[in-house]
Symmetry: C2
Subunit: 363 residues, 2 copies
DNA sequence: CTGTTAGCGCTTTCAG
DNA sequence: CTGAAAGCGCTAACAG
């Protein structure tokens, strides 16, 4: 624990009676360096377990080798997995990852982004808070020359590289499946529609009805304040209080789903016998839940990898003007026990075996 | 996206015809600086949206303002929550957090730790992989003067600040509770006992039996290869294959528990009617599971806060020799529906209402 | 009140 | 093959 001061290149130089530049060269296999001095330098370096100071290097090279990622929170399966994907991609390119949570607070998002800029991260990946409706802080970042990639949650009107999941499509698949299995009165527990992703899920729900000529009943849609299990409990309770007849529920995500099943069970409804239920996310517990949860799987890990890849590409083509990339990944419906299954269409829906979290997934 | 080169203090100085130091002083409210020049400087700084280069500062001050945290993985509720606690603590002290995952790989752990040392993090929080049995890389870090705190997973024989949870006690509580509720043949699905934490849970299981004069049957203990739900499925299957009579299972954690309930259900056992089940961790889904999971809650967020706090204290008393701190936090048994409840002892066990994840918890 | 100087640790011309 | 010098961006004595 004693702060013995790290040995520097100068220390070694002095001890050997050579110049710092010689030491530097020796340490980097520079061609024009005598084998002898090189040996001496390397020996000393090892003896003192010399460690190059990356801070000095960063200052010199004007790049820190750090990529920042800003997410609303890391405790959900979704973001934690995205981060894993990003981590794997950037570290294979020699970058470190600075992970920050905004906690869905806009002010925090601004502050953290500012912090990152100050510490001179080389690039940033951002999934904005659902309160983020002004993008000046993003623009500011762009202006300082730090490339950024928006992922998962879109920022309408803000131009940047973006990697999203087609939530609309996932929701559409889910609801159309419910319709095909004979459900007529399908409720939707929507998340805060300030989040574009959740708005899209609602739209998917609506259009699946429309395309299948099923009337939409606004009394079957309940808007939740958040998207945790507790929010699910609240929303589901609210839904049941309306005393509407329902035979299916499409919930905005799995967390809300399990809150919902809880309420349904307490009120004597059986899933899926009385009510079919489909969630979204395919959380790690979804397959082991009882009944196991039908849900929409998203290529989360891949989302992280791709976002990071796009950022790295920007580094490679630094300066060159390039149009922004806009990537949309496709989710997949996973049918399990929480929804009734109709025989004839099973084959087209059932996915072979998708255990928990596939680390690598083919697109 | 155009790299316009960030404006520096020198740019401002030149433009104003003053020296860089004057600019620096103006920007820092130095007492001896004329109101006029200060105004000029500030105006220009704003005009060019000047941003101090933290890398230069770090190099100068020999502190980066970054704290590193190294965990086996971030996708579990446990570590994600620890990180949240750490994040909140360190950011309130003005530090940034560099989060790294070892993926339970020893080599990766070594490499990442090395990386952190190179980027001159000011301190490190570590929860080692379960393969970590040599601590030379930790020693090396200590020698370079970077303080480190070990949390959650102990490193027997390695001296450092440590913050742990009393897993032994948690397990003991759980098993004693099962015994008190009348269970006679309590099985244990143990995790890899290379992890001290899991070894402790096993010990708690054993000693609770011993203290209550219940014979221990080795055929009721199954050692799982990992601690995911899939591992739980495998271990539970193995357990049932032994055709031993059992009336309760204490599983090493909640993830394994839900894999276990899955297998039990498939084999026609009802929980808790036929078999009582208790897990460990109190994951966010535990209370909404069916049946809701009896489990052992750990002060996870607090664990993160405290670990970070201890590290910050080291900074404050830098250099001063101090004995290492060894903190052990107490877990609490949470009784829900997956275990039979006996009337008379309920009161001493039942906890009022403990929804999901308490953000702040009194010790 | 302000400028000059030196230096954090390192690399990289440019001269030897 | 090696050294001297300059500089990345900034601050903190030390002089004026």
């Amino acid at each position: 624990m004693q702060q013995t001061r790290q040995t520097t290149i100068v220390d070694i130089a002095n001890q050997l009676g050579v110049s710092p530049s010689t030491v530097s060269r020796a340490l980097h296999d520079h061609p024009s360096i005598s084998a002898k001095t090189k040996r001496n330098v390397v020996r000393l370096a090892e003896k003192y377990s010399y460690q190059p100071n990356l801070l000095a290097l960063s200052l010199l090279n004007k790049r820190s080798g750090v990529i920042g990622i800003l997410v609303p929170e890391i405790t959900s399966y979704f973001f934690a997995t995205v981060i894993s994907g990003v981590q794997d991609m950037v570290s294979s390119a020699g970058y470190k990852l600075l992970i920050c949570q905004s906690g869905e607070s806009f002010e925090e998002e601004e502050k953290l982004l500012q912090d990152m800029a100050l510490s001179r991260v080389d690039g940033v990946l951002i999934s904005p808070t659902f309160r983020t409706n002004s993008f000046q802080h993003f623009e500011r970042l762009k202006k300082t020359g730090i490339p950024l990639v928006i992922f998962d949650r879109d920022c309408p009107g803000f131009e940047a590289d973006k990697v999203l999941v087609d939530s609309y499509d996932g929701a559409y698949q889910a609801v159309e499946y419910l319709i095909k299995t004979g459900c007529k009165r399908i409720a939707h527990i929507a998340g805060p529609i300030a989040i574009p992703t959740f708005k899209q899920r609602l739209d998917g729900y609506l259009n699946a009805h429309y395309d299948n000529n099923i009337p939409i009943r606004s009394e079957l849609i309940v808007y939740s304040n958040g998207f945790s299990s507790d929010d699910g409990v609240e929303a589901a309770t609210q839904l049941l209080d309306r005393h509407e007849k329902i035979d299916a529920i499409f919930a905005v995500n799995d967390a809300v789903s399990i809150g919902t099943t809880h309420v349904l069970r307490e009120n004597g409804y059986r899933v899926p016998d009385d009510i079919s239920l489909v969630g979204f996310d395919d959380e790690s517990y979804a397959q082991y839940y009882f009944p196991s949860l039908s849900t929409v799987w998203q290529p989360v890990y891949e989302l992280g990898m791709l976002s990071a890849k796009i950022l790295l590409d920007r580094f490679a083509n630094r300066g060159q003007l390039q149009s922004y990339r806009y990537e949309v990944l496709k989710p997949e419906l996973v049918i399990r026990e929480s929804s009734r299954i109709i025989a004839e269409s099973t084959s087209s829906y059932a996915l072979p075996n998708r255990p928990g979290t596939p680390l690598v997934h083919q697109a």
